[in-house]
């Protein structure tokens, strides 16, 4: 079956007729003009379309979500420009302020995607995503929401849209185990903190469930993937000997790590200022990752006894692996998940 995009009879000036629910279903045979095709070919993901509302289907009617700032085109450019594609996805524009805007720009609020060319306070609100016939806004004025000459900006926008839908759903009972890492990761922005400095060398945190995510208990590995060259290399496969004083400092007689991640990061920062390629730095990095894994213990007081028991039984140990970003192989990438958890707090009021 081949579909062809046709203009609705009310295509021109569609932004003015969108508030007329009765006209939504009227699809007429009016062919597209060369001008229309030219407009379609110029559509870009991130474009801001000046329309005043978006239709949302309710139980028994259509209501119109007001879009005083317009709407953002979410459909990928390669699909938006195809003349045989009938529809595109749009989200309303919102303007945010203060902490909410800053958090949204930093990717902390998945609902919002920054539309940088429109201003630092302009975002697509993906809590509303509406499928609209292209012909509906052919005549609407349109401005670029992202700089199409900036590949990085284009990709960032696309990935932010995809992130809201593509994240791995960690089992609910596993999330409390991983939650303590949130504190560590947020410390990344503290420039005065050695642990924050170490975290800035981490390009990604991934979690493996050795044996899969099918059935608990899950045996987890925290994969700390660091930038190339951060962990010292040595000429042979042999492990570099851990200096005796460091070994004593790190571990108690029974082998358990006795230092916190903060203490290890402090010492790591000091050692890196001296000799960043030393065996000491190597072992401190390994131990720091282990200490981060050791932090992964759920705060069971927040839960009912039944929930706490379920959470406790869900994980069969978490170990750690520090891997250079050039050494994390595809085998492991395919069997691990990026650590991407919702913030604990309820969404801020808008």
């Amino acid at each position: 079956m081949v579909y062809a995009l046709v203009r609705t009879k009310s295509g021109r000036g569609a932004e003015r007729t969108l508030s007329n629910a009765g006209s939504l279903g009227s699809v007429g045979p009016a062919p597209l003009s060369e001008d229309d095709l030219e407009i379609i070919a110029s559509l870009r993901q991130g474009d801001i379309v000046k329309i005043d509302s978006l239709p949302i289907l309710t139980c028994d009617s259509v209501r119109f979500h007001s879009t005083p700032h317009g709407a953002v085109l979410l459909t990928q450019t390669c699909d938006a420009v195809r003349r045989e594609k009938l529809t595109v996805g749009l989200s309303p524009i919102v303007r945010l302020e203060g902490d909410i805007a800053r958090n949204a720009r930093n990717g902390k609020l998945l609902r919002y995607v920054h539309v940088p060319s429109a201003g630092s306070d302009v975002f697509a609100d993906m809590s509303v995503i509406v499928t609209v016939d292209k012909a509906r806004f052919l005549a609407a004025s349109r401005t670029a929401g992202i700089d199409q000459t900036d590949d990085d900006e284009v990709r960032r926008f696309g990935r932010a849209v995809g992130r809201r839908f593509g994240r791995f759903p960690f089992p609910n009972e596993v999330v409390p185990w991983l939650r303590p890492l949130e504190v560590v990761v947020q410390g990344r922005h503290n420039k005065d903190s050695p642990e924050g400095a170490a975290m800035r060398d981490v390009v990604e945190l991934r979690v493996e469930a050795v044996g899969g995510w099918q059935n608990p208990p899950y045996a987890l590995t925290l994969c700390v993937i660091v930038e190339r060259g951060v962990i010292p290399s040595f000429p042979t496969d042999d492990e570099p000997p851990c200096p005796h004083d460091l070994a004593v400092w790190l571990r108690s007689d029974n082998g358990n790590l006795r230092q916190t991640s903060t203490a290890i990061a402090d010492r790591l920062a000091a050692e890196r200022r001296g000799d960043p390629s030393s065996a000491t730095v190597y072992w401190l990095w390994l131990s720091l990752a282990e200490a981060w894994a050791a932090r992964c213990t759920p705060d069971l007081h927040k839960y009912s006894p039944e929930e706490a028991a379920e959470i406790q039984a869900a994980v069969d140990g978490i170990d750690a692996d520090v891997v250079d970003e050039s050494g994390f192989d595809l085998y492991r990438y395919r069997r691990s998940e990026q650590l991407d958890l919702d913030h604990l707090s309820p969404p801020p009021p808008i």
Binding site: M1, V2, L286
Partner: protein, 201 residues
């Protein structure tokens, strides 16, 4: 997983130090390993009839050997019979006995060599990795070899189109890890996929 292993016929009799035919043994071992790691009862049969109730995968996949030696050796002691050992002890023991590099051990266990270093230093290990580690050591210790270099040779030896024990372990470990979720689509699914039905003819 309830794994019962009987290595009758694979371990040299007491006092027999020579390796009679390491290639053939490695071949049998490969099949036995598949069964072992699949968690089924295995009795590797060389010349004798199979033990009642323990029909071996090796009977189906490996032709009987013709060497009359090495029968009736005692089965290896299952790991749970050992005195409790630390992870560090197990890792160092495994490396010493297998002759494998840290990197090779990491590959077999699905981690980096740094993770194995960390375990060897007493670092924390999750239950599944400890289980794999223990199983791997059990396999290495049961190889019919006198020293680490011979065990290493057996681990990598291939014969008659059978993959090496090393590769069998790698593959079983991979298939044991369940559904791929990180990049769940195959090239076949990704290449030439249609965006929606409107494109179909």
């Amino acid at each position: 997983m309830n794994t019962q292993i009987s290595f009758v016929g694979l371990v040299p009799q007491s006092g027999t130090s020579a390796i009679p035919d390491s290639g053939a043994l490695a071949q049998t071992w490969t099949s036995s390993l598949i069964a072992t790691l699949s968690g089924v009862a295995v009795t590797a049969t060389l010349l004798t009839a199979p033990t009642v109730g323990a029909r071996s995968i090796s009977e189906r996949t490996v032709p009987p050997l013709t060497r009359p030696a090495m029968l009736s050796a005692p089965a290896i002691r299952p790991p749970h019979d050992r005195p409790m050992q630390s992870t560090a002890t197990i890792v160092r023991d495994l490396r010493e006995k297998s002759g494998l590099t840290w990197d090779q051990l990491g590959r077999l266990l699905g981690v980096s060599r740094r993770a194995v270093h960390l375990w060897a230093a007493g670092g924390r290990i999750n239950a599944r990795h400890l289980e794999l580690l223990t199983r791997l050591r059990g396999i290495v210790e049961s190889l019919p070899a006198a020293d680490a270099s011979q065990r290493r040779m057996l681990l990598f030896e291939t014969r008659q189109s059978q993959p090496s024990i090393f590769d069998v372990f790698l593959r079983l470990h991979a298939s044991d890890e369940g559904v791929v979720t990180g990049t769940p689509f195959t090239p076949d699914q990704l290449f030439g996929a249609r965006y929606d039905e409107a494109e179909s003819e």
